[in-house]
């Protein structure tokens, strides 16, 4: 599924036109992106949570050529699946 399919699904379920469902979906995603960009975490009950982890710079290696390089400090978002979803995904396995 991609974003336009998500928008279509939302429009059908709550019976609103696509031109309304589209900004709703985009607002949700933008708000989440801005929160992560500010270093905030996100917690959606029943779905999961996102946290931003900070990494110091370190000396890494290009695995192909073996040349060491300095990796600059970085921030990465991590997703932790919620308990309910985690269990339900597993039931299907």
């Amino acid at each position: 599924m991609n974003k336009s399919e998500l928008i279509e699904a939302l429009a059908q379920e709550v019976n609103i036109p696509l031109r309304e469902a589209s900004p709703v979906t985009n607002t949700i995603l933008e708000t989440m992106i801005n929160a992560l960009a500010a270093g905030d975490s996100i917690e959606i009950r029943g779905f999961g949570s996102f946290v931003v982890k900070e990494y110091e710079s370190y000396v890494g290696r290009n695995p192909k050529s073996g040349i060491s390089i300095e990796v600059p400090p970085k921030r990465l978002p991590f997703f932790k699946v919620g308990k309910e979803l985690k269990e339900r995904v597993n039931d299907g396995a």
């Binding site: 599924m1 974003k3 939302l10 709550v14 949700i28 929160a35």
Partner: protein, 96 residues
């Protein structure tokens, strides 16, 4: 300063303020979006959201693990898990 935690409530507030839906409809819309994401993951479909990232269902094979406290070996069953890979755009936004 302590960073804050964004919840469904904040997302509903953003929709209410930005798009003018009532508070009740806004929170229903937020719930529907996450329900829909959840349903797709439960059907083992991956979800690719441009600018945000990709959710995937990964199958983990069973393996022999250890209880880190007691050191006992035990079999960890085959299981599915949800993985998330942030998009390049999102990673870029976190690091500028």
């Amino acid at each position: 300063m302590k960073n804050s935690n964004l919840t469904r409530k904040d997302l509903a507030k953003a929709i209410h303020e930005k798009l003018g839906f009532s508070k009740q409809s806004s929170s229903e819309l937020v719930d529907r979006v996450f329900d829909s994401l959840k349903d797709h993951l439960l059907r083992e479909e991956s979800i690719k959201l441009v600018q945000f990232g990709t959710f995937n269902i990964r199958q983990k094979n069973s393996r022999v693990g250890r209880n880190p406290r007691t050191g006992d070996t035990m079999e960890i069953c085959r299981r599915s898990m949800v993985s998330f890979k942030p998009s390049k755009g999102l990673r870029g936004k976190l690091n500028c």
